[in-house]
Amino acid sequence: NLAAAGPEKFTLEYIQKQVEEYEIGKRHLANMMGEDSENFTQEDIDLFDFIYLFFLLKQICFYFQHPDEIFPKQRAVQWGADGRPFHFLFYTGKQSYYSLMHDLYGKILKIEKHQDRLRAKGLFSQDAQLISLGPSRWLTKEELELLLVETISTHDYDRFIKLMERMLAMPYSSTEEEFVQRYRRQLEAQSMKQMMPPLEKDENGVAFSTAEGRRKTSDSSVILRDCGSGHITINGQDYLQYFPVLQDREQLMFPLQFMGVLGRFNLECTVSGGGRSSQAGALRLAISRALLSFLSEGDGEAMRQAGLLTPDPRVRERKKPGQEGARRKFTWKKR
């Protein structure tokens, strides 16, 4: 029996050779394309079509990405010629993680010492100088693993986060802000990165916008006209005829009622596929999107927080073999 070798290990020389070849290939490509070979960046390479270039470069084996991104990051050899490891925590097995925790605890002790010195001088105040981090989140477990180049368990990750939180809660922790920021990622300022449909004007000078929406297997498209009459047409029929059920009509009106613009717009909708409820949901999404172009930023944000602008990801779950339905199992028989 052969023991599993684990993930393939590449030697440092091999990777360095790949990097040199990559650089040479990049220069060749730049020369062939007539671009500037000095300032030829990764983005320019990405623009080229792979198949076209394969025939040109078939002599050179060229990776279209920097080798660092293809080969996973690996540890250099951790011990010297005499067999003694470099790091003092090598024999713990997770040296980077434990050294990180060790450093973190050292910082906590330093802050406490600072607090004691201030107390001795009588300058200590409880609510001074907590770190202000801005909208950001902690590194996820995967990102931390990448940073440390070693695997850690969920338990280890939890302990790390708890210790960080403990340090943040201490007064006078702002001295270690730079250290903490290394382990935080900035959150996007707003989740309101919506595609707003453009506001157009037709021949009569009436402003209108078009938007599409989807739900389960229904597709819908809505033209919202700023006429002032409040008529709604779906697939050529009146909405009262098309949706005899009250719940569906409520869903159509939901975005308009939420914004308080019930009588202002004319809707011309087309919808296909799916059932009664999913068609109503698709129309609701399309109406909310079309409405965005007539409203201000704050209103758009309110609509997003009301759940009107998120496409509903729930679809029918497939039936699995060995079961009667998606979740229902066959009747269990003891024998």
Partner: protein, 223 residues
């Protein structure tokens, strides 16, 4: 503001199509019209959090209209069978109409002094009846020393509401004359519960008595 993300990952058997990062939507209009000054610190934090995180889509049963009631929607969903929401909603509207009719009849027949006491709004009657049916403590089956004991435990709000609704529906389905319509049975039972009579209230009191009887085992609960 620190974003306290969930550090532990729990593997649940039931999963949702949404990333756990998504937050629940807030549908009522009033929540968005309150100015900054009125909010407390936690509400300000909530608002900031909502601005950064993605939000789930609103379900097809909720709207921002004044006629939309979450309790009534929950009751309709619980009454629904085989996905027939149209029928369940029809029954609900007929029940409320029936309650209103009975109360208005009673109102017109009553003398001047009694008229103020009679409640005609079917929604208040529904809510009050449900409140009267909610049990305060529940029983849990806990195994200790080879035997199973019925131990009194505190119930969460959701659980209490669920039990009240469930008892109401099962009672109307099982214990009434088979020729009456469901809306008729429901309206009778709701009016009885509003007046603190009826089988559902009796069931609640029986549960309370059992819990009181098993008070000695209350220390078996460890949570």
């Amino acid at each position: 503001m620190c974003d306290k993300s969930a550090a532990t990952v729990v593997f649940l058997v039931r999963w949702s199509r949404y990333n756990p990062y998504y937050l629940e939507p807030e549908v009522s209009k009033e929540a968005y019209s309150r100015p900054e000054t009125e909010l407390s610190a936690e509400e300000k934090e909530q608002r900031e959090l909502k601005a950064l995180r993605p939000i789930k889509a609103a379900t097809s049963g909720v709207t921002s209209s004044v006629f939309d009631d979450p309790v009534i929607s929950k009751f309709i969903n619980m009454m629904m069978e085989h996905g027939n929401k149209v029928l369940a909603r029809e029954i609900m509207t007929q029940t409320l109409e029936n309650i209103k009719k009975k109360q208005v009849e009673k109102y017109h027949k009553a003398s001047e002094g009694e008229r103020e006491v009679i409640e005609c709004n079917p929604y208040t009657i529904f809510h009050q009846a449900l409140e009267n049916c909610k049990p305060v403590v529940g029983l849990a089956s806990i195994q200790k020393g080879g035997k199973y004991y019925q131990v009194p435990i505190p119930l969460t709000d959701n659980r209490r509401r669920f039990l009240a609704m469930k008892w109401m529906i099962t009672e109307c389905q099982d214990n009434k004359h088979r020729r009456t319509h469901m809306y008729e049975k429901l309206s009778q039972e709701l009016l009885a519960a509003f007046g603190k009579e009826g089988n559902v209230i009796k069931k609640k009191y029986e549960l309370h008595k059992m819990a009181e009887a098993n008070r000695a085992y209350a220390h078996y609960r460890w949570w």
